[in-house]
């Protein structure tokens, strides 16, 4: 409980690295607690580590398949990741456990929508609002679905109005309501809603386009021309901003393309360099630069690049592990710190523990090394290397018999394997 509370504390202070470490600890101490697993998954999800979040939830649900909060959360992450078929399966599982759960029906509706099963989506969302009439998000989604068909424009208006009256007072809801009014030929109401959307967000591009249309139909040509002009200028600005934002990622993609074509690494290196110059927040660009320098044998430079990647995004365990590997020969203490941070951020990676074991072995901390190798085996029992390391280290702490068992496991796992 203490780790969990510390996690909350760190999270509240935006110290995510420490918070993640504490949540991992709390979860490893009690893997059956849905509170700890969900908190960990939640922070991983928040910190853009969605794959890890999914893994945590899947592991938890294997032990507790009837945990409704776990199922719902996993479903939500699948939706965010556009894995709608898996989201649908999760939503359906959740509804078997609680058919009266309006949120479950909402998730089911969103999953169907993602799979382009629009009629099923409407039915599920209707069920959600039947159970919870003031369910604003479900009303919004229904409004959007109904606004695609002239036969259901009335229902679209009804649901969007209910979304607003249920507390979802947002520019996009006003814009969508304005859009449907425009389609219905109710131009004054359309203008009213579109202007409300712009009050909330003056640089919102689309309402200006719709306003131009509404004004034109009301015979207000000057206002229509002004709205269209505003639309164009906002659009140009947005396009330029996007081009600037995309420059780094585009150059990064170019670098990756060159790498995958196994072209001259200098060209890929130049592209990655340009990508981080264009977008200094491109941690992946720094990571790739480190990778190329490492391959060239320039560990020092590679370490500098990976430090920059860490500076941009300190929550990626991989970066800390790469740093640890790069410092292994020159700065063992730094290497130890880095691999420990990697483990704090992701204690489930067997390689990290094995590497920690190696560093501790070098420092004659055989007890610590054995502990690390054992963790590695725990995470990946089929990897022969930690078993071999245990076989080598255990005699040093007087456990020769156990060492022999580890050696046998090692031979069993490597039997028939290519020595390469």
């Amino acid at each position: 409980m203490l780790n969990y509370q510390l996690g909350i504390l760190y999270q509240a202070r935006n110290q995510f690295q420490k918070a993640i470490a504490q949540y991992w600890k709390s979860r490893s101490l009690d893997q059956d607690s849905d509170l700890y697993s969900l908190a960990l998954a939640s922070i991983l999800f928040h910190c853009k580590q969605r794959r890890e979040a999914i893994q945590v939830l899947q592991t938890f649900l294997e032990r507790h398949p009837k945990s409704l909060p776990g199922i719902r959360f996993l479903c939500r992450i699948y939706i965010q990741e556009s894995q709608f078929d898996q989201a649908l399966a999760s939503a359906q599982k959740g509804l078997v456990l609680d058919p009266g759960d309006s949120y479950g029906h909402y998730l089911l509706g969103i999953s169907h929508k993602g799979l382009m099963q629009f009629e099923e989506a409407k039915a599920a969302l209707e069920q959600a609002v039947a159970l919870a009439p003031s369910y604003a998000e479900a009303r919004l989604e229904l409004g959007l679905l109904y606004s695609a068909d002239h036969k259901t424009f009335g229902l679209a208006v009804e649901n969007l109005k209910l979304a607003l009256s249920s507390g979802l007072v947002r520019p996009d809801v006003h814009k969508n309501l304005g859009f449907v009014f425009l389609k219905l030929g109710e131009y004054e109401q359309a203008v009213e809603q579109l202007e409300l959307a712009l009050q909330g967000r003056p640089d919102y591009v689309e309402p200006h386009y719709l306003l131009a249309d509404a004004f034109r139909k009301l015979g207000m040509r000057e206002k229509a021309a002004a709205a269209l002009k505003r639309f164009q200028s906002l659009r140009t600005a947005a396009r330029e901003r996007l081009a600037l934002e995309n420059r780094g990622p585009r150059l990064y993609a170019k670098g990756m393309d060159l790498l995958s074509k196994q072209a001259a690494p200098e060209q890929a290196y130049a592209a990655f360099l340009q990508s981080v110059e264009a977008s200094p927040g491109m941690d992946l660009g720094f990571y790739r630069l480190a990778q190329i320098d490492y391959k060239r044998g320039d560990r020092q430079r590679a370490a500098d690049w990976i430090r920059q990647a860490i500076q941009v995004y300190p929550l990626d365990a991989r970066y800390h592990f790469v740093l640890a590997r790069l410092l292994e020969q020159t700065h063992v203490a730094g290497s130890l710190d880095a691999v420990r941070t990697a483990i704090e951020l992701n204690p489930t990676n067997a390689d990290y523990h094995n590497f920690l074991g190696n560093l501790l072995f070098q420092r004659d901390d055989f007890q610590g090394a054995v502990q690390a190798y054992r963790r590695s085996v725990e995470m990946d029992p089929d990897d022969p290397i930690p078993h071999l390391n245990l076989a080598t280290t255990l005699p040093k702490i007087g456990a020769a018999q156990e060492a022999e068992r580890e050696r046998e496991i090692y031979f069993r796992l490597t039997r028939g394997r290519n020595p390469e």
Partner: protein, 570 residues
């Protein structure tokens, strides 16, 4: 419905031909489409040369076309082939195919006899038109990363490649759709060639990934290229006038093109469907130049003000108000955009209100026709679908590479999805791209040809469409271009008025039968036709009996145009 025979009527002032005496099928049966590809003898298979690198060109497919090259009154078929990509067998044949319509429902492959050269490039689209006004239709093939090809019809069943001599080979940019049209009304067909992107196999050829999965690059990975406009000198040569005409200033990512006189000023305008960027509407200013008015007219963007992934486009009067509207195919989760011409210089996106949006949203649309398949006197929508990603299902749950076609029936200006009721073949999932239409068997209803990417085309014979009455017109220009392209034809029967503009262009990479086809429903009486020629001449035909194919020669009704009449009344 009454069982009746189509009849040939000799109209005193006109050359009238009746090519078919066709007995209607069983009364009461509705329209269905039947796959007759095999029995028609079409054996073509498109090669797109897919590889794990997923080059963009391997997914855009190639087009198809109808052309009556031997002037026997039956529409022949031209099928465009793809080409080679790195990592595939360069020695495979990638030849296009020309099939001659025997007139008995079967076709004979005559590619070699007709002098069509072995394909050395990666074929894209086809445009059909009689550019030298000799009475025999020529065709133009667009290519990816190679010169475009103009084949002149020698009039003896053979063609000759005149690209170099005519000066229309282009600069090897990626050309997609093309259209013959007479933009300066000088009586000779000019040529509009749509440019896609600056991608080729040896430059700007990235490998795109969605996470770890290699996926076909979208248009955002490339820069757009301007379109090309060739002006016909009238002596068999063309001049590139894109800059002067102010169309080459705009670099779009064009895939589809439709000529139409949207403002009914007697000058043909051009609409270009662009992929992922604003669509263009080039208004013909009558002085040899165009003005781009897409955004101003409401045809550049979707109903929310966002650009869509324009693929194919077709023009037609879907709501019977006498004005030409536009339909544009787009990606899935976007929709088939139906822009209604309001007659005041503006268009309105009617997709949701006309019932087109919802049924089209799950599909990636390419070729399309706005054609009256059931002859009930309003144009229906036929759409060829197929995803651009061959690994679509891997990239997005619920998506599929192969998709069914879509048939939306026009019921008083509102569309209803009748795909599953109009022939099983429409529901068969395929990777469809080009779509062309023609009454290839001259039985009074419109049939459809669809090209499939990396597969065989399908010829869909319309069964039952001719239960309703119909009338077809083939225009022969004298002062205007020989094909009559750009002429507006207005048909009146009872209280109804139908309008159609003559063109072989539209859809996606494809060319269709340019004979004007009108469905007349259960109407049994005679009809009235007015032809507004690009030259300004107007021909007026009265007391025409339905169920026949009429040839109208320009000026044959001896109705000289006044200046006022040269402007078509809206």
């Amino acid at each position: 419905m009454r069982r009746r025979l189509s009849t040939a009527v000799l109209f005193p002032l006109l050359a009238v031909e009746a090519w078919a005496l066709v007995e209607s099928p069983n009364p009461g049966s509705s329209v269905t489409f039947q796959d007759v590809t095999e029995q028609a003898g079409i054996r073509f298979s498109h090669r797109n040369s897919p590889t794990p690198k997923r080059y963009a060109v391997a997914t855009v497919g190639s087009g198809c076309g109808f052309i009556d090259f031997d002037k026997d009154g039956y529409q022949d078929i031209l099928l465009i082939n793809g080409g080679w990509t790195p990592g595939t067998d360069k020695n495979l044949p990638f030849d296009h195919s020309l099939y001659r319509n025997r007139g008995d429902g079967t076709f004979q492959e005559v590619t070699t006899q007709a002098g069509i050269e072995a394909n050395q490039y990666y074929g894209m689209g086809v445009a059909v038109g009689d550019y030298d006004n000799d009475g025999f239709d020529d065709f133009f093939i667009t290519n990816f990363a190679g010169p475009d090809l103009l084949y002149r019809n020698n009039g003896d069943g053979t063609f000759r490649n005149r690209s170099m001599a005519a000066g229309v080979g282009g600069d090897g940019r990626w050309s997609s759709s093309a259209a013959f049209f007479d933009f300066d009304n000088d009586g000779f067909l000019d040529l509009y060639v749509v440019g896609y992107t600056d991608h080729s196999l040896d430059k700007n050829n990235p490998i795109c990934k969605h996470g770890p999965i290699v996926a076909t690059c979208g248009p955002e990975a490339f820069n757009g290229v301007p379109d090309v406009l060739f002006r016909n000198h009238g002596d068999g040569t063309f001049a590139e006038v894109g800059q002067k005409a102010r169309v080459a200033q705009f670099a779009g990512k064009g895939l589809g093109v439709a000529p139409l006189d949207y403002d009914r000023d007697g000058l043909v305008d051009i609409y270009v469907a662009n992929d992922g960027v604003d669509n263009f509407l080039f208004r013909n200013q009558g002085d040899g130049s165009f003005s781009e008015v897409g955004l101003l007219t409401g045809t550049a963007l979707d109903e929310n003000g966002e650009p869509q992934a324009g693929m194919g486009v077709v023009a037609g009067d879907y709501d019977g108000d006498g004005l030409l509207d536009l339909a544009v195919t787009n990606l899935d989760l976007e929709y088939l955009a139906l822009y209604k011409n309001m007659g005041d210089g503006f268009f309105e996106d009617m997709s949701s209100r006309a019932g087109v949006l919802a049924p089209s949203r799950p599909f990636v649309g390419f070729g399309l026709g706005l054609i009256d398949v059931d002859n009930d006197s309003d144009p229906d929508l036929v759409v060829a679908n197929g995803h651009i990603m061959d690994n679509a299902a891997q990239l997005r749950a619920g998506a599929s590479y192969r998709q069914p076609k879509l048939l939306l029936e026009n019921v008083g200006g509102l569309y209803e999805d009748v795909t599953s009721e109009r022939g099983e073949v429409l529901t068969v999932p395929q990777v469809s791209r080009g779509l062309a239409w023609a009454d290839y068997d001259n039985d009074g209803d419109l049939d459809v040809l669809v090209s499939n990417c990396g597969g065989s085309p399908v010829l869909l014979r319309n069964e039952g469409g001719n239960e309703n009455a119909w009338l077809q017109l083939k225009l022969v220009g004298k002062k205007s271009n020989r094909n009559g392209f750009g002429a507006l034809v207005e048909l009146k029967f009872g209280e109804k008025r139908l309008v159609s503009q003559v063109t072989s262009a539209g859809s996606y990479l494809s060319a269709s039968d340019y004979r004007v086809h009108f469905g007349l429903g259960e109407y049994q009486g005679n009809v009235e036709i007015t032809v507004y020629w690009p030259s300004g001449i107007r021909d007026h035909l009265r007391e025409l009996q339905p169920r026949q194919i009429v040839v109208v020669e320009e000026g044959s009704t001896n109705h000289p145009a006044t200046a006022a009449e040269a402007r078509v009344p809206g």
